[in-house]
């Protein structure tokens, strides 16, 4: 069964590679049964190389990282194969040698920086400790720690060292963790989703930092992420994991531009790319589900979900095939992989007749909306937004920009400040959801970010979906049953799901239940608050398609909140960019994306790594979002704005939201024409015009 593969990329002649894993199996023992979590995984990281492991949840990428340093939980073990880190074999090590390996040779950085730091210890002390263990005196260690913090671009290391971890922001804490990890000058640095918990602009900074430090310390990196774009940006080579098996490997750019395993092909098609719009395109999705962990599969592990699968794939386990000198693919038919048939039709029928025009006034109108929380935190400050009938309004901004507060005010879950006006069909809405009449409740619904939290785990799917039908639509008996049938069919659930509880469903199915509930009573506006951020890429595509289809079918209007600009671009007709509770830019989706943009929008776009590699990183933001309790004077963005005017006007006067193009408003002192010049100057990205 084991396919003998010539391990790719020959190591540099003289030294042992930073990491070499060959034919590694990892097994978890669950209730007396062994479950194979990783099967026959082999890869090699040369010195100074950055290697990416990419895969969805359940692929075993974190397990791989834990197995390398033998951090597996007590029921897990490496049940086959060999590992060599810097020429050392962690599998044969005793406790003290292992501790030594973890202290000197390998460092790990995890997703949650807060968990990696000891909350009861000052940051400086924690970093200094690493140097003390390495044999420095405590005075020297303090100095080394300070130096290290400076290297991770913390501007005031002296002060940061005296703080406790909870006093640091997420980005700052992750830098501190990286400082600790690099303090040992490890020969291998393992980064497990290091930026997943961070905001886009902060993520961009941390990624830049990792890239720079890698050069400086000449460290080899194992970078684990579910985000293909991040891997593409950060890694020289990439391995794609699926259900515990490495299915494709090769130079990152080559793999992402010309994937040669059906899984990679499918995964890449799930991501909305430039030019794809909900009006014309549907994303492709990967049908089916990941096999249950530990299941023994005779043939190719991906065969049950693969559009190219033939009898051979189901009977014979494919070995690695060399695609070229540096690339391998675990597919019998890797030449045909790019021709993988789509699982969902490419395009949708001609767009429905433009329903947005001709209606009298906006569906939802928000004027002078402010919300100040206790402690003076101003989440929203004078926001004017309108939502037209039938459109999708995308709401973009970093955490703390007020996106969710805006949605909650609209829904009546948070009461706005006095003087704010929120209307539906021109009629003011009661600020308290408990006082809203049934028709209003019916009209405004939400799909929450996390279905685990949004669905009561004690209720069955049937109860969850039926409730709005009986409460808000006033249905009962046969009418309710019919509508229920119709609903579950339109979100592509099945009858057999009805008696189950949320814990018995996968993440994607749970979100479908949440969507069915929101659409149950025929809402006019559905708020989608990061509806796919808790889901895997392949599931996300299906949910986005579903949202696009439902919008068309049910004539719904969306307020779509997301930090993922690709999704916003795919789904939105217009976009609102929020920063510190203020609207920075509003405009039709393509206008906002094509520019000229507000400098903050520009920074957001630059920050988000993209698979469309031609886009240059134009500007970077430094520093953190200022506190909403004490917003900066003048233009609130001036503290981070790379295009701040030298005249001082940005610091003193808040610019108005002015409309230079029809429907496109920007809150900036720099005139639109000048922004256009500024943003054109660096190497121009290919125009890539897309006509609807």
């Amino acid at each position: 069964m084991t396919a003998d593969l010539g391990v790719t990329a020959p190591p540099p002649a003289d030294q042992a590679p930073a990491l070499s894993v060959s034919h590694m199996d990892v097994t978890y023992r669950v209730r007396g049964q062994d479950r194979l979590a990783l099967r026959d995984v082999s890869f090699l990281i040369s010195r100074g190389e950055s290697y990416g492991l990419v895969g969805e949840s359940g692929s075993g990428k974190s397990t791989a990282a834990l197995a390398l340093v033998r951090y597996l939980p007590s029921n897990g073990r490496v049940s086959g194969g060999t590992i060599s880190i810097d020429g050392l074999d962690p599998l044969s090590m005793g406790t003290s040698a292992l501790r030594d390996l973890r202290a000197r040779t390998v460092s790990m950085v995890y997703q949650e920086p807060g968990r990696a730091l000891n909350p009861s210890m000052r940051v400086g002390r924690q970093i200094a400790e690493v140097f003390e263990i390495a044999g420095q005196s405590s005075g020297d260690a303090q100095q080394s720690a300070e130096q290290m913090l400076r290297k991770v671009q913390i501007s005031d290391p002296g002060r940061v060292m005296l703080r406790y971890p909870h006093e640091l922001s997420g980005g700052m804490a992750q830098r501190a963790v990286i400082a600790m990890a690099l303090a040992r000058s490890p020969s291998l640095l393992i980064l497990d989703e290091p930026t997943t918990a961070l905001d886009a602009t902060v993520e961009a900074e941390v990624l830049d930092l990792v890239a720079a430090l890698r050069q400086e310390f000449d460290t080899s990196v194992l970078f684990i992420s579910h985000n293909l774009a991040v891997i593409a940006k950060m890694c020289d080579r990439v391995g794609v994991l699926y259900a515990g098996e490495l299915v494709e490997e090769g130079p990152a750019r080559a793999v992402f531009e010309n994937p040669r395993h059906p899984y990679t092909v499918g995964l890449l098609r799930c991501i909305p790319r430039r030019g794809q719009r909900k009006d014309t395109d549907r994303l492709d999705s990967i049908p089916g589900f990941l096999p249950t962990p530990g299941v023994t599969v005779t043939g190719c592990i991906f065969a049950p979900r693969c559009g190219l699968a033939r009898d051979r794939c189901r009977q014979e386990h494919p070995p690695f095939f060399a695609v070229d000198e540096v690339r391998t693919s675990r597919c019998f038919f890797h030449e045909q992989a790019p021709d993988l048939p789509r699982a969902t039709p490419v395009s949708v029928a001609a767009p429905a007749a433009d329903g947005t025009g001709g209606t009298a006034g906006p569906l939802v109108d928000v004027e002078r909306l402010s919300k100040t929380f206790a402690g003076g935190v101003q989440a929203l400050a004078g926001v004017d937004v309108s939502i037209q009938q039938g459109e999708t309004l995308g709401l973009v901004g970093e955490s703390g920009s007020g996106k969710t507060t805006l949605a909650r005010v609209l829904l009546g879950l948070t009461a706005p400040d006095q003087g704010s006006v929120v209307t539906l069909h021109g009629k003011p809405l009661n600020p308290d959801v408990r006082r809203r009449p049934r028709e209003i409740l019916r009209a405004l619904q939400i799909v929450f970010q996390n279905p685990d939290s949004a669905l009561n785990r004690r209720h069955t799917v049937r109860a969850l979906i039926s409730r709005p039908l009986s409460r808000l639509a006033g249905l009962s008996g046969a009418a309710l049953r019919d509508r229920l049938e119709e609903l579950i069919a339109s979100v592509r659930l099945e009858d057999r799901h009805l008696p189950l509880r949320p814990s018995q469903l996968s993440g994607g199915l749970k979100q479908r239940v949440a969507i069915a509930r929101a659409f149950g009573a025929g809402p006019e506006v559905v708020v989608c608050d990061e509806p796919t951020s808790a889901l895997d890429v392949s599931v996300q595509a299906a949910i986005l398609n579903l949202l696009a289809d439902l919008q068309r079918k049910e004539q719904a209007t969306y307020l779509f909140i997301s930090h993922d600009l690709g999704l916003v671009r795919y789904l939105s007709d217009r976009i609102v960019v929020l920063y510190l509770g203020r609207v920075m830019e509003v405009g039709p989706s393509e206008t906002v994306f094509d520019g000229p943009h507000h400098p903050y929008t520009e920074a957001l776009f630059s920050a988000v790594p993209s698979l469309d590699l031609q886009r240059p990183d134009r500007i970077r933001l430094t520093g953190e979002i200022p506190s909403a309790a004490d917003p900066p004077s003048g233009c609130v963005f001036h503290t981070r704005c790379p295009r701040r005017l030298p005249t001082g006007i940005c610091e003193s006067t808040e610019p108005p939201l002015h409309e230079d193009e029809p429907g496109h408003q920007i809150r900036c002192h720099i005139p639109l024409t000048e922004l256009r010049e500024l943003q054109r100057s660096p190497s121009v990205s290919s125009p890539h015009s897309e006509s609807g």
């Binding site: 978890y28 669950v30 209730r31 479950r35 979590a37 949840s57 359940g58 692929s59 075993g60 990428k61 974190s62 397990t63 939980p73 007590s74 897990g76 997943t196 999705s285 049908p287 089916g288 589900f289 096999p291 249950t292 962990p293 299941v295 599969v297 049950p304 979900r305 559009g307 699968a309 699982a343 909650r408 879950l413 959801v433 408990r434 809203r436 049934r438 409740l441 405004l444 939400i446 929450f448 996390n450 939290s453 949004a454 669905l455 009561n456 785990r457 004690r458 709005p468 409460r471 808000l472 592509r492 659930l493 009858d495 509880r501 814990s503 018995q504 996968s506 993440g507 199915l509 509930r517």
Partner: protein, 320 residues
């Protein structure tokens, strides 16, 4: 396509799936091995066997349940199989050491201690569950209100509860005894009231966690009123915590009743009762009459241990 997978919940491999079917079999383990992967696998499939079956896998549960069952049998049938009448005094045979005739010896009045220990289970096993049920109902209602309503109500009631908890249990109990009197009903109410704030505090914490979940605003958006949100949405989710709290408090209730009896405020003599017997007999300890104190004390200890073992198993199962 729905028909292609007849037994979805248990299907291990999505093999019978048409590759283009949009919905594939359920993954009951959640298929999740992600960032917290390893741990998730360790705990995987928590939904698979019912919780009762998980409970039955725990040896501690069997030990606890076995001991408890023994005492329940004693409480129900004790008067039938006790070797002597627990109230019969044989003054000539007072203070006899354990022997073949009197396994646990006799007390200063010559009553058979084995019979008194066996039959002493009755009142304690009637009063403590009833008292704990009372405390659980009151405490859950109070905790639910505090956690859900929050604000000033929570602050005021919370302070009162804390003040209540700051006074030593015995003093509080004394005050109630003075007010209510120590009939069986009185003692039940006293223990129930004394434990109410403790349970309220635990339930309140659990409710606060639930209240921060998105299903609460989701219910609001469906126009559900507070009663429905509290009792149909939140309450079912805090019931596991309530169940754990009930079993833990039951153990403490046994202690509480024994303490009250020992102090003379519990079950009145001559009714056989472990706490009261210890109180009546411990004066004999310096004279070497150890059995008169030891066996009732062991009875209390085993019953408390049994309840705690059960509570522990329940808690472990619900936490997994």
């Amino acid at each position: 396509m729905s028909g292609s997978v007849p037994q979805p919940a248990e299907s291990a491999v999505p093999s019978p799936v048409d590759p283009v079917a949009p919905v594939a079999p359920l993954d009951r383990t959640g298929g999740y091995l992600g960032a917290t992967g390893a741990a998730a696998v360790a705990a995987a499939g928590r939904a698979t066997p019912t919780r009762w079956r998980l409970l039955l896998r725990r040896p501690t549960f069997y030990v606890g349940a076995g001991i408890l069952l023994f005492w329940v049998v004693c409480a129900v049938f004790g008067y039938m199989f006790a070797p002597y009448n627990p109230l019969a005094q044989q003054l000539l045979l007072n203070n006899t050491a354990p022997s073949a005739a009197h396994w646990f010896g006799t007390d200063p009045l010559g009553r058979d201690l084995l019979s008194r220990v066996i039959t002493g289970a009755r009142d304690i096993l009637i009063i403590t569950p009833l008292a704990t049920i009372l405390a659980t109902i009151l405490g859950t209602a109070l905790g639910l209100a505090m956690g859900y309503i929050g604000g000033a109500f929570d602050a005021v009631v919370g302070r009162i509860v804390e003040a209540f908890l700051a006074i030593p249990f015995v003093i509080v109990a004394f005050m109630f005894v003075v007010a209510i009197g120590h009939s069986l009903v009185g003692i039940t109410i006293i223990i129930g009231l004394v434990f109410t704030p403790l349970i309220a505090r635990t339930v309140r914490a659990a409710v606060q966690v639930e209240r921060s979940m998105d299903y609460v605003p989701a219910a609001r958006l469906l126009g559900e009123n507070s009663g429905r949100v509290m009792f149909a949405e939140i309450l079912p989710n805090v019931l596991p915590a309530v169940l754990v709290e009930f079993t833990v408090r039951l153990g403490y209730a046994v202690f509480a009743l024994a303490t009250l009896s020992f102090l003379g405020f519990g079950i009145a003599p001559p009714t056989p009762d472990w706490g009261a017997d210890i109180q009546a007999n411990y004066i004999g300890l310096p004279a070497g009459y150890w059995w008169q104190t030891l066996f009732p004390a062991l009875a209390i200890a085993t019953l408390v241990t049994a309840v705690i073992l059960i509570a522990d198993s329940v808690e472990q199962v619900l936490a997994s």
